[in-house]
């Protein structure tokens, strides 16, 4: 049906354009002066067809499917309908059956429900199609009526375009709203919805030191105790981030200083791609490298020194995470150092400072805010990074600061909880969204502060 609808849309669009522009050409050949080129009369006609038809489709399709589903479910007993889980699985079966993707024995109820569903869908789809066609034809008629010499088709079409442009820019806002809404609502339910079994209090979450999101899957497992203490995840995340910053901070900053202040253009030409390639390596690749090359190496090296190294040590993940953010720090710091005016350096040189003295005593202090914000942005990257830690750090929520131990992170837990079969509406699933909220919040704060600092700093030298 979708195909029919969009074929109709395409055909109507085409004919709207042809009709309206032909009409305006005909008008001008009779000597009427046109305000707008015929093409604009055509384009306006097109927008009068596409916009209503797309709107009708976008609003109507979910409505039809919703309506068909709720009607189909009336074939089932009330307790099935009222249980969200059962209703959901029944609905899936109905849809599969209606789509002909299900073979084998089918109960009568199900068959009847599928028939209801198909019937309602068909009716609804035809209804949609006819509404859409009617709207499009109205649009064409209106646009043809509008064609006249003084009619400002271009101006009207441009208003339509402007709205479209604004809508596109609004997608970014919608995305943020979507993120906040989805994460926040689930988080609130996690803490406050009385129907969720095993949910923790806000205090237990924020200050609890035990993380064990196990869920009793069956009644006989009832004694499994779940715990949602966030502290070990936070310390784990921060431990790995700290290791990463220890690696990337000095390396990234020193590379940036060298590139910005010392390197010849030739050197820059070769060194920059190295950093760019490193920046472009997907994190799943870095994770593989961390888990299969770095971690065994560190373990072997630790054993040689007589240390007890976990096979998924925080150190391995942190080191590779550091590799990931080196290019990030170096390119941002490079930018801020380039923004320091040459006159400051010249002042230092004129006093007889060596290059390194000028850098250490003049350039770096001047660039400090920018560098601090670069570090903050890099940290937020590291905190939000998922694949490296998923592959190289563990699942064990140990509350430790020993880099040789296994720790887990916020992102690892989100991924672990949400990948694979999830029970919707369980405390465990909601916990992942709560973690997502915390993650979003932490990185957002870091970013806002960093961007503030950068902006202040830019204003200073602009």
């Amino acid at each position: 049906m979708t195909v029919v609808y969009f074929t109709a849309l395409a055909l109507l669009t085409l004919s709207a354009y042809v009709l309206a522009s032909r009409r305006s050409v005909a008008l001008s050949s009779t000597g009427v002066r046109l305000h707008s080129l015929p093409a604009y009369h055509g384009l306006l006609a097109i927008s009068l067809v596409i916009v209503p038809m797309l709107l009708i489709w976008a609003v109507g399709t979910p409505l039809v499917s919703q309506f068909a589903a709720s009607n189909a479910l009336t074939n089932f007993p009330a307790e099935t309908r009222n249980d969200a889980l059962q209703a959901g699985s029944a609905l899936r079966e109905i849809k599969n059956l209606a789509a002909g993707q299900r073979s084998g024995d089918v109960s009568d109820t199900l068959r009847a429900a599928a028939d209801t569903y198909s019937a309602w869908r068909t009716t609804g789809d035809y209804l949609l199609l006819s509404i859409g066609l009617a709207a499009a034809l109205l649009g064409i008629a209106a646009s043809l009526r509008l064609v006249s010499g003084p009619f400002r088709a271009r101006n009207h079409f441009e208003s339509v375009v402007r709205v479209i442009l604004l809508a596109c820019a609004g997608v970014a806002v919608l995305t943020t709203i979507g993120i906040v809404a989805s994460v926040l609502t689930e988080t609130i339910r996690f803490f406050f919805d009385p129907n969720i079994k095993g949910r923790p209090g806000v205090f237990d979450f924020l200050f609890g030191t035990e993380w064990n999101p196990q869920q009793a899957m069956r009644a006989d497992q009832g004694d499994i105790k779940s715990a949602y203490g966030f502290v070990p995840l936070l310390t784990g995340t921060l431990l790995i981030t700290a290791i990463a910053m220890c690696v990337a901070g000095p390396l990234g900053l020193l590379s940036a200083i060298y590139l910005a202040e010392y390197a010849s253009p030739r050197m820059r030409r070769y060194a920059k791609p190295v950093l760019e390639i490193l920046a472009g390596v997907p994190t799943v690749v870095l994770g593989f490298f961390a888990a299969l090359t770095v971690a065994p190496y560190i373990r072997g090296w630790g054993e040689a020194l007589g240390l007890d190294v976990a096979s998924e040590s925080a150190l391995a993940a942190g080191l590779v995470m550091g590799m990931m953010i080196i290019p990030f720090i170096s390119s941002l710091s490079d930018d801020v150092m380039n923004a320091v005016p040459q006159s400051l350096r010249d002042g230092a040189y004129a006093l007889g400072a060596t290059k390194s003295e000028a850098i250490k005593q003049v350039v770096l202090p001047a660039a400090l805010p920018g560098i601090v914000s670069a570090f903050m942005l890099a940290m937020s990257r590291a905190i939000g990074e998922t694949m490296i830690v998923v592959m190289a750090a563990g699942l064990a929520a140990n509350l430790t600061l020993n880099p040789l131990d296994a720790v887990t992170t916020i992102t690892v837990q989100i991924k672990t909880i949400l990948v694979g079969d999830q029970e919707f509406d369980s405390a465990k699933t909601l916990a992942a969204f709560a973690l997502g909220f915390v993650l979003f919040f932490i990185t957002l704060i870091l970013n806002i502060i960093a961007l503030r600092i950068v902006r202040k700093y830019r204003e200073q030298y602009d």
């Binding site: 806002v173 993120i179 989805s182 689930e186 900053l253 694949m387 949400l418 997502g436 970013n447």
Partner: protein
């Protein structure tokens, strides 16, 4: 002027400077230059270390990936038995498809090493072949039914363990020529090999060193799977050593002997496989078979095309990236057709039309912050909104593409804005001065001029999307999917997720394939970034 002069002392007092002895001053300067050199060396060191990281990363992955690009096959004569393939002789496609080709490949390999008896030995022999060998044969027959009833010579894929063994992963061994005449007690079954007394003293001593002492009950040293295994090759056959005394070796025949006649000194040998049997995935029996097939010249090594032409599989030797590649293409297609127009139009709005007001401010702040939201959070968005709210299909490129589009949208908007900003205002003024509307000026003049910059930004954004994994895990693109997807609502996976999935599997062959898939992924990324750089250099216009 005059005022100022009058208040100044006529002569300035001499500058009060501490007199520094020349040697101290020189030392000071030397120290300052030394610190200058140190500082510079630190910078170079940091860069070098970063480069070293990159080199280590790339070499470790490339080295690991190399074996995955080739595969071993047994070139054998297969009788395409009409009784098995097409019993009723009607060449019915369904019959041909459902026939038991595995029995044919099994039969074929048992003809290479005839005379194997015993269930486990036969199983070991037929198990050398991959289950894919039968599928290949099926494909051959369906493509050309005229071969039914004939004997054809065709390569058949080995299982991953055999492949790895042949690639030299586990095969380290040492051979000692026989030092005395050796008499087998039989040609098959459990047999005893007897030689003059003290012939095996050296072996016994070796076993003692490996921690095996004489077993009182058996009256011999008993070898087990935890120590390197020993095999005696004698009279064209092979015997595994299970028990050893100073003059006898006892154990099962792995490969039938041709006779029981005494083997002369030097005509037999004792081979020690360094890796204990329990620590490898391939048994002594299998090693003996493979070596036999190899010495028959029936093994070939070829490029692993299958890696690029087949989908995922539980069998490492059959697993390929085609499904992931198509999934990636579909996903990126959705991403591109969404985020390119939306991104460019949004950038045009913000650069050219947006009034200075709170709404514009909100949009701008939004885009900047969105660019730094962790990718996994976009996955949560996809899960909660696209899957649970809009009921879009799980694991589908459609949803993956949607999520990635939102993820790279800020990147594209930011780079498109930069490209639009770089077009000088004089071009807009010229058009507007001629009576073009603002939109005409933008769409006729500014946008075409900004296009190379926009394309560069888009390619970089798409490269980013290509390497993204975490958000796709959230929306279920992690399922094990054998079928190659054909449209955007099929269940699919993408290359980075395939890498993640394989990296978790224990088989060494999968590790190699992971590395190979990474090489392919990096190849695409380098190509895309190269294209972006080329585009930038070719079309960059300095105003």
């Amino acid at each position: 002027m005059t005022d100022a002069t009058s208040t100044l002392p006529t002569q300035l007092p001499p500058a009060r400077r501490r007199a520094i002895p020349p040697d101290v001053a020189a030392a000071r300067v030397r120290r300052r230059y030394a610190s200058e050199r140190t500082f510079k060396a630190l910078g170079i060191g940091a860069l070098a270390l970063t480069a070293l990281f990159l080199v280590m990363l790339l070499t470790s992955i490339i080295v690991k990936s190399l074996p995955a690009f080739s595969e071993h096959r047994a070139v054998m004569s297969v009788l395409v038995d009409a009784a098995v393939v097409d019993p009723d002789g009607k060449r019915n496609a369904d019959t041909l498809r459902s026939a038991d080709y595995a029995s044919l490949t099994r039969a074929a390999i048992t003809t290479v090493i005839p005379g194997i008896e015993g269930r486990s030995a036969r199983k070991a022999l037929t198990g050398l072949l991959s289950s894919g060998a039968a599928d290949d044969l099926r494909a051959l027959v369906i493509a050309d039914p005229s071969i039914i009833g004939t004997t054809i010579k065709t390569p058949m894929l080995f299982s991953d363990d055999v492949d790895l063994y042949l690639k030299g992963d586990t095969g380290r061994y040492t051979t000692a020529a026989g030092v005395a005449e050796l008499t087998p007690s039989d040609v098959k079954g459990d047999i005893t090999l007897t030689a003059a007394d003290q012939s095996f003293a050296a072996l016994i001593a070796e076993l003692e060193r490996e921690g095996i002492s004489a077993d009182a009950e058996a009256g011999a040293h008993v070898l087990d799977g935890r120590i390197p295994s020993r095999v005696v090759y004698v009279n064209g056959g092979a015997v595994k050593v299970v028990k050893a005394t100073a003059n006898t070796l006892t154990g099962p025949v792995l490969l039938p002997l041709s006779s029981v006649s005494p083997a002369k000194t030097g005509s037999w040998n004792l081979t020690t496989y360094a890796q204990p049997e329990s620590r490898r995935r391939i048994s002594d029996q299998e090693i003996v078979f493979i070596d036999k097939i190899k010495s028959a010249g029936a093994i070939e090594r070829g490029f692993n095309w299958r890696f690029f032409t087949s989908g995922d599989s539980r069998e490492p030797e059959l697993a390929g990236i085609r499904g992931a590649l198509i999934g990636t293409a579909l996903t990126l297609f959705v991403t591109l057709i969404l985020c390119l127009p939306i991104g460019v139009l949004a950038a045009i709005y913000l650069e050219e039309f947006a009034p200075k007001n709170w709404l514009t401010d909100i949009i701008e702040v939004n885009i900047n912050n969105l660019a730094a939201v962790p990718s996994i959070v976009f996955g949560l968005l996809g899960l909660a909104v696209f899957l649970n709210y809009f009921n879009l299909p799980r694991s589908a490129p459609l949803v993956g593409g949607l999520v990635l589009a939102l993820l790279v949208l800020p990147t594209i908007i930011i780079s498109a804005r930069a490209a639009i900003k770089a077009v000088p205002p004089s071009i807009r003024e010229a058009a507007i001065g001629l009576g073009a509307s603002q939109q005409q000026a933008v769409f006729h003049h500014v946008l075409p001029l900004a296009m190379p910059g926009i394309m560069t930004g888009t390619i970089i954004g798409m490269a980013h999307a290509l390497g993204e994994t975490a958000p796709l895990l959230m929306i279920g693109m992690v399922a094990f999917i054998v079928d190659v997807p054909t449209n955007i609502s099929d269940a699919a996976t993408v290359l980075p997720v395939q890498i993640y999935l394989w990296s978790d599997l224990p088989e060494a062959a999968f590790q190699q394939r992971t590395a190979a898939a990474i090489v392919v992924l990096l190849g695409f990324l380098f190509a895309m970034n190269g294209a972006a750089i080329w585009l930038r250099n070719k079309f960059e216009r300095r105003w």
